[in-house]
Amino acid sequence: MIKSFVDKKLTFRDMDPDVSLKAAADMSSAEIIETVSASSLRGRGGAGFPTGAKWKFCSRAEGDQKYVVCNADEGEPGTFKDRVILTRFPHLVFAGMSIAARAVGATRGLLYLRGEYTYLREGLMAALQKRRDDGLLGDEIMGVDGFEFDIEIRMGSGAYVCGEETALIESLEGHRGEPRNRPPFTADTGMNAMPSVVNNVETFAWAAAIMEKGPEWFRVVGTDQSTGFKLFSVSGDIDRPGVYELPLGITVQELLAAVGGENAKAAVIGGASGRVVSQAEFNRKVCYEDVPTGGAVIVFGPGRDMLDVAENFLEFMCEESCGQCTPCRLGNTKLLECVRMLQEGTCSAAYLREIVELGESIHLASKCGLGQSSGNIFLSIVENFREEIMGRALGAVEPATLRS
């Protein structure tokens, strides 16, 4: 059993996936979409697209064969909540996928599990088999005529960019995981050019919970634009790393207090594609309208060297860029080179300014979210920690003594 610390009894534990599915089985497609839309549930994978709207597009799209795809690629550095959900609540996720299938009229489901999570596969297959045996997958689900759906597990093979939904579909189709241009969107031109719903693991689980408890129950928590609870994966210099269920709209300060990270000097929110939030901004809110996140929070204590942070994340980006776009492929290596110059104290202020401009260009000129966000951590460190990163001499850094 995975030893990850989970801060309290998760809401998912009180849910009954069968009740959720029954509720959906008794509803029409439009009613399911209406319910999910009324909850204002937004995608838990990072981008925060309204789930009800996505399902609606897909239900209206024309296609002989529609697909529901669960994005279990969870590659964002600092994220591990989907692993915990898949381990503890697989039936809730599968119920959520089945509900989506009924909503959009899909008969095939695919769960794209990252290769690094191969050890979860067996348990998930067993859960799927149980559902088939119980009549919760297959033909005439719950005895409802025409409600037909089954789920297949597909494995990734170690590529972060495959978490991007169009790359994920390329990968499912047997291609290199290179993101596509959008539009067309996956909701009408997805898997095998057919309408497809792609959602995060947690999104499906919440959708199922909403079917059981109703949209009002969900809306009570969170802010106007970011309703509900969210699972956070919190790691770094804190007392209790683990998975936390917290309301969206919580301030960074409150979040740090909950995890035992009060003396933090900074936190990366949103993983490698997120940004650095410095102490001065700890009153900001974690939600789609302020500091968005798929749930990754990495906390840095007072002794951490922010250049080291920038270096590690840029190495990640250079490694994981699919290489289609020149700004992303080459630009990030330039940013990384600049970090190394800063470490050696050989980066002039003028050059740094140019590199910051380059970082902004990468954001504008990249095709997918990886490139568009690849420079964020570096840029936010340059913006907030100038005193710490300038004027260094090689090997003589004592970050704890630096003013930040």
Binding site: I2, G75, P77, E116, T118, Y119, M155
Partner: protein, 173 residues
Amino acid sequence: MVLLTERDRIRQSLSELVERYGNTRSSLLPILQDIQRQHYHISEYAMQVVADLLGIHPVEVFAVVSFYSFLDFKPRGRFVIRVCRTMCCHMQGKDRVARQLETDLGIKFGETTPDGRFTLEYANCIGMCDLGPALLVNDRVYTEVTPNEVHHIIEECRKVFGAHAVQSQEVGL
């Protein structure tokens, strides 16, 4: 009795894989993943046969193999050890674990031991950030690894070459 050459054998086992997963393009990745698992790499010949069976150009197969970090052209070890090098594990001391692995195995990252038993690689975040430093040995995950424990992990793998693997600290469902 029919004598099969090595190539015949490969072709036969690949035909079986194609039959199992279906003769469509979207079966390519599952097929390649199985070949990698069985043979610790995907040879040029295997790529050609798969291309042939699926009716696509071998270059297409090559392009896919080259894209994914868990698929290899070159033979990898029986055990591939992948150390997470991403931020959270970095903060929790992955460098010392990595160093000890290099010393105990006598190889650098990216290399395979001459006996073909171990390959040492880095991975990016493997979703164990709260329990770092973390590493994967094939599909098995090890968490909160200390430099001193590295030795035990290697020994545990070595047992496979003798009798049975002892499972300890395994994480699963």
